[in-house]
Every structure is written in structure tokens, then in C-alpha cells.
Symmetry: C2
Subunit: 282 residues, 2 copies
């Protein structure tokens, strides 16, 4: 990550945009997507660690880009992100647009640079990342649903929250020489679980008055698992989803390790952990 950003700041780069690139990716959040990607790669043997590292960096760059653009005045109009002013507040709106654009491009550049060792895998990674970033089913599509009067909720959630988790599992598999298709369900289910956990976190935070739900979402009428099912019902839903996630893990050398990882992720989502204040989006 640091190396990619440093390259982006090199040569005759304009200084403020160069600085904004670094600002947008530090401090990192939980880095949950690249961690998942690397876990899958390791479970699949990780025979090209240079390629899987590049894939993890590329995915996180795209995620950071999406946060910068989502925070813009025309979307969430957020003032704060990860405890500091958002990029458009700290730099300017033009520089926030350009920072997002540059980070998207950098994601693909990182994959191309790591590709010499295995051009075919690198190309598959470019394709998987593009599919889960752009239209018709990437995070751009997810955000695009918020401009529709009639929303296809399943397509919306799958694109908005699920897409980069699907990218994580599929890119981890590709980086280690596995076919991506069987890994889609694991990513989709972890994405769903993440969404329900987010709803639970908001609800618990509100009840205990530790913090207000962030509620910046443009889509005010967006469904919420806690509202639909109650806290206990949502907890059960989360458990079911994660059970399904474990069951969906494709056959690979590190299958048991991956299942254990998902189980630990589930434990983190218990009410005890939920009562601690957590950033709403990582």
C-alpha cells in the first residue's frame, strides 16, 4: 500500500493531490477485505505471495476510493471519516474527486505491475476487481441504486455491501491459482453478515446511548435487520448467515482454517463486543 501510494506521489506530481492520496488511505480501517482476501489465498496454498499481496492492496485502494467519493457533498456530505476530516473537507471537492479517481486507477496499476510473474492470474484479477467495482454489479452500481425510485433490494445490497467481499474471496482464490466462481457465495454471505452486524451495531449503540447511529445513508427508507427482526432475531439471522458461509467454503487445503476464521468473525459479533463503540464503516 505504502509503496503504491509513494509511486503515485513520485516524479513531478502536483503536491496537494499527492498529499491527499496518502491522507485518504491512512490511518487504515480494519482492513477487513484485504485480510479476507489473504486468508482465502493462504487457504488455497498462496503459491504466488507477490500476486496475492498486490491483490490485497488493489482491493483496499478501491475500497478507500469508494469512501472518498461516498463522502462527497453530493452523496453523504460527511465531515468526518476515521476520526479526521474527510478528504473534501481537508483538501477540497475537486481534489476529493481526483483522489478517488487516482486510487481507482492505482488499484488496477498495482495488479498490472505484479503481473509479470503470472500474467494470466493478474488479468483475471483485473477482471474480477473491475466486475465488483463498476457496472452493472459492482459498488458503483450499489451506489447507483440510491438514485432510483424503485429499488431492487437484493441487487442493491449485493452490489453496495457484498461486491467487495465477493471480490475479496474471488481475488484470493485467483491469486493462488483457483477458479473464482466457487468462491462467490462465501464472499456474498460474509457481505450479508457484515450488513446485519452493522445494523446490530447501530441498534445497540442507540439503545445504550453510546453513540448515535451514523444514519448518513441517502436512502432513508433502507431496510434494517434489527427493525425487521428485533435484536435477538437479527442475532439469529447473523448466525445463520455465517453458518451458511462456512458451509459454502469450497474444497481447498486450508478449508478448516477458513471455517475457523469465519467462526471467530461470528464471535466478534456477540452482544458483548457489540456494546463497544465501533466506527460504523470500516
Amino acid at each position: 500500500m505504502t509503496a503504491a501510494i509513494a509511486r503515485g506521489q513520485g516524479g513531478d506530481a502536483p503536491a496537494r493531490l499527492a498529499s491527499a492520496l496518502d491522507y485518504a488511505v491512512t490511518p487504515g480501517g480494519a482492513r477487513i477485505r484485504p485480510t479476507l482476501l489473504l486468508s482465502v489465498a493462504i487457504a488455497c496454498g498462496d503459491d504466488r505471495p507477490g500476486v496475492s499481496d498486490a491483490a490485497a492492496v488493489a482491493l483496499e485502494l478501491i475500497h478507500c476510493a469508494s469512501l472518498v467519493h461516498d463522502d462527497l457533498p453530493c452523496f453523504d456530505d460527511s465531515d468526518l471519516r476515521r476520526g479526521k476530516p474527510t478528504v473534501h473537507r481537508a483538501y477540497s471537492e475537486p481534489l476529493a474527486v481526483l483522489t478517488g479517481d487516482s486510487l481507482i486507477v492505482m488499484g488496477f496499476d498495482v495488479l498490472a505491475r505484479a503481473g509479470a510473474a503470472d500474467p494470466l492470474r493478474a488479468l483475471q484479477l483485473v477482471s474480477a476487481l473491475a466486475t465488483r467495482t463498476g457496472m452493472p454489479m459492482g459498488i458503483c452500481a450499489g451506489q447507483g441504486w440510491e438514485s432510483e425510485s424503485q429499488i431492487n433490494l437484493s441487487a442493491y445490497h449485493r452490489a453496495k455491501t457484498g461486491a467487495l467481499f465477493i471480490a475479496a474471496t474471488q481475488m484470493g482464490a485467483i491469486a493462488a491459482g483457483y477458479e473464482p466462481e466457487p468462491w462467490e457465495e462465501l464472499g456474498a454471505r460474509i457481505g450479508e453478515a457484515f450488513q446485519v452486524a452493522d445494523d446490530l451495531r447501530d441498534a445497540v449503540c442507540a439503545v445504550e446511548e453510546i453513540g448515535k447511529p451514523v444514519g448518513q445513508d441517502v436512502l432513508h427508507a433502507r431496510p434494517n435487520a434489527v427493525k425487521e427482526l428485533g435484536v435477538q432475531g437479527a442475532m439469529k439471522r447473523l448466525k445463520d448467515i455465517l453458518g451458511g458461509a462456512i458451509a459454502s467454503i469450497p474444497s481447498c487445503p486450508g478449508e478448516a482454517m477458513l471455517a475457523e476464521m469465519v467462526r471467530r468473525y461470528a464471535e466478534k459479533m456477540t452482544p458483548g463486543a457489540l456494546s463497544a463503540p465501533v466506527a460504523s464503516r470500516v
Copy 2:
């Protein structure tokens, strides 16, 4: 191009963003960058027409994305582009940001899809396109210079106008199996010529009162070849640059054809042709 956009609109895509993708790329401008790319590919033997076609589409998608973002209220705040309302006027600002993002991603996706036939060339294309799009020396950097108080003019022009012409010549070469480095100068010089021709066009249009110079550029104090050198001086400058461009053409089977193409491009820039009203940016 049409196939790529149709793919982006497929499946469960949100309808308005899907429609905006098509709106942003039609009607096309002069398509000067993909035409240059294909001319170089043909001059180099064009042994993989599927790859060079994909490269041309990818380059034009990135160019269209840059126009959509440049037109945004926080940059040029333009109402019209190619004779119709800009994307943010016709759809909305959020959809314009997402259209630009989606078209950038689509550019890289097109290259990955065409890559099966020759993964190494496809990866080189991803890398060349990323370099000329993002930071530190792509069109994002060019736009980023406009947020600086002290501008490195040569870096600014090379990135803002030159970058996608350099991408055109280098990607044409790569698509046909040639090394990209020797092709940088031709792209850079054609980019410079394009800039001077643009200045001339604005000046001649103003003199003959056919149309007002567009003058939307944020950088009000930006240097102009006609202001510096006068119309005759700028004409001579243009001729010199194109002479240099021809001299820089690397050895390849279609060297003479390419030289002829650049010569014709020069002819189009004569005062006679200049007096016709032309869109300021194509």
C-alpha cells in the same frame, strides 16, 4: 464501445446510471485518440486486431470519463458537452460522479477481457493506460495541477493534454507487440500540437466572432500560444512541433503511412480550416 457499454448496462443494473453510461459516450467526438492508437497499431503490423480494438475502446472510455468529471460543478461547471446537457445536468451530480467512475473501471475491464489471446500485452496495456490516467503523470495529475498555487507548466501540459495522446501511441505499439518507450515522444508532440491548435482555434474564432472561446478553464492565467507568439508565430510553432513529431516516429513497417497521417493532421490546422467552427474539445 457499444458492446462494452451494453455489458455495463446488463443484468440487474440500476436503470438511470445504466442510461447515463450510454449518454456519456454518445454522440462521440472526433475519436482522435483511438484513431491515433489504431493508426500506430496498423503501422506496427497489427497482428492482434482484437487487442488493438480493445485498447482503442479502453482509451476512449477513459477520455469520456474525464470529460464527465471535468464538467462537474466543482471543476468546470459546464452545462453543455458535444451539443447536449452535461451528464450532471441531464441526470444528477451523484450519477455523473458514478458514471465517470464506472467508465474508468470499464476501460480496464475491456483490456482484461481482450487479454486471453495475449495476457502479457493486455497487462502492458493496463499498465500504460493506468500510468497516463492516474497519478503522478496521468490526466488526474494534470487536473490536480489546477489546485496548486505554483504550477509546473511543462508537467501540467504534459499530463493534462499530453497524457492520453502518449497513451494512444504507446498502447497502439503495445497492442501490436512493440515496446512502448520509443513511442512516447510522438504522442507527447501530437498532444502539444493539439494544445497549440486549440489555442489557435480559440483565437481565430474570437477574431471572426463565429463563437466565443469556451474559456471554462479554472486556470484563468493559463498560458496561450497565440497570446505568447501571435497567430503567425503559433502557426509556425504548430508546424515545428508536427515536424518534430514526424521525425520522432520509430522505425516500423508503416512509418511512411504514419508520417503522412501526421502531415494531414497538420493540414487540417491551416487557417482555412481554422475559420470553420469546431468544438473546442473533442
